[in-house]
Amino acid sequence: MNRGGAGRRVRAQRWYRFIVRLYPAAHRRAFGDEMVQMFGDHYRDAVGSGRVSRWRFWRSVLADAGRSLVTEYIAAIRAGAGWPGRLRRRNRRWRQRRSAPYRRDAVTRTGRPGRGGRRGRRRRYRRPACRPVRVVAKTRRHRLVYRGRFSSLVLLAVLLGAVLAAGTVTGHTGVAAIVAGAVVLAWLAYRIRLDRLVPAGPHGDGPAPPGGASVREPRRPLPMCPGGSAARPRPDQEPPGQAVALI
C-alpha cells in the first residue's frame, strides 16, 4: 500500500475507533484494541488491494456494527453489566419501592392478609405493572404525558437506528423509512396520552350534583351524653359516682 493508502487506513481506523466506543464498556475494554487492529488489517486487504470499493467496505462494516451493537447491548442488559445493567437495577429498585406498602401487609387470594395460600405458601400481592408518567407539554386545561421508562426510549432509538441502517445497507431506504415511521407512530399511540385537567373544587368543572348539596357527611351516631341514661343509676342502686354497666 502506498503512503496515501496508509494514511487513508489510519483515518479509517480512527473512524472505526469511534464506532468501537459505542460498544458496552466491558466489551470495549476486552476487545476494543483487537477490533481496531483487525479492522485495519481488513481495510488493507480489501480496500488497499483494490478488491473492494471503499463504499462497499464501509457499508458492510456499518451493517455488522449495527447488528453486533444491538446484540452486545442486549447481552449487557441480561448480564446486568455496565450502564444498561445499572439502569435495569435502578428500575427494579424503583418498582420495589413503589410496591413496598402493598407487600408489607400481604394479601392472599382468599382475601386474608398475611396468611399462606395454597400448600401453605405465602402468596404475595403483586401490584399491577405501573408506568412512570412524565409530562411532555402542558397547557391550562390539558397536558401531554409520556407513560414509560427512559430505557425503553433508548431501546426504541436503537431499534430505529438498526432499521434505518439495515435499509441503507440493503438499498431499501424508502421501505426502512416507512417501517421506522410506522414504529414511531405506534410507539406514540401507545406511550403518549393527552390528559384533561380538572380544576380543583368540590364539583370539578362539571355541574353541581342533584339537590344542590355540597359534600355531605355520612350520618354518625350521636355521642352519648356523659350524664345520660347510661350513666344514671336506677333508684334501687348505688348513689351516683359509681358506674353501672347495662347489659
Binding site: E34, Q37, M38, D41, A65, R67, S68
Partner: protein, 115 residues
Amino acid sequence: MTKELAAVPLTPAVFHILFALAGGDKHGYEIARQVGEDSLGRVTMGTGTLYGSIKRMLAEALIEESGRRPAPELDDERRRYYRLTEQGRRALEAELQRYARVVAVARRRDLLAST
C-alpha cells in the same frame, strides 16, 4: 443428554469459528479469513460479529486464549491467539455428526444429488 451435546446445534458464527480453529491457533483476523476460505467466500464475518462470538465462546469455555505465539518476526504483541478447548472440540464433533446424520437421511430420501 450430556453437557457437550446440550450446546448443539451451534449458531453459524460459533460453528464457523470452531471449524476455523480446528486447524490450529489463530488470531481474530486469521479466523475471519479462514471462515471466508472454508465457506468459499459465502460467509464473511465482520469484526463486531467475530468478537461478540469470541466473547461468548470464551465464557462458555469452547475456546481459550493460546499461550503459544509465532516467531517474533511474524508476531504482533497486540494480537491475541485463540485455540479450541476440549469442550469446544467435542461440541464441533457433535455438530459435524449431526450434519452427517442429516446428510445421510437426505441421501436416503433422494433429496440430495450424489456428488
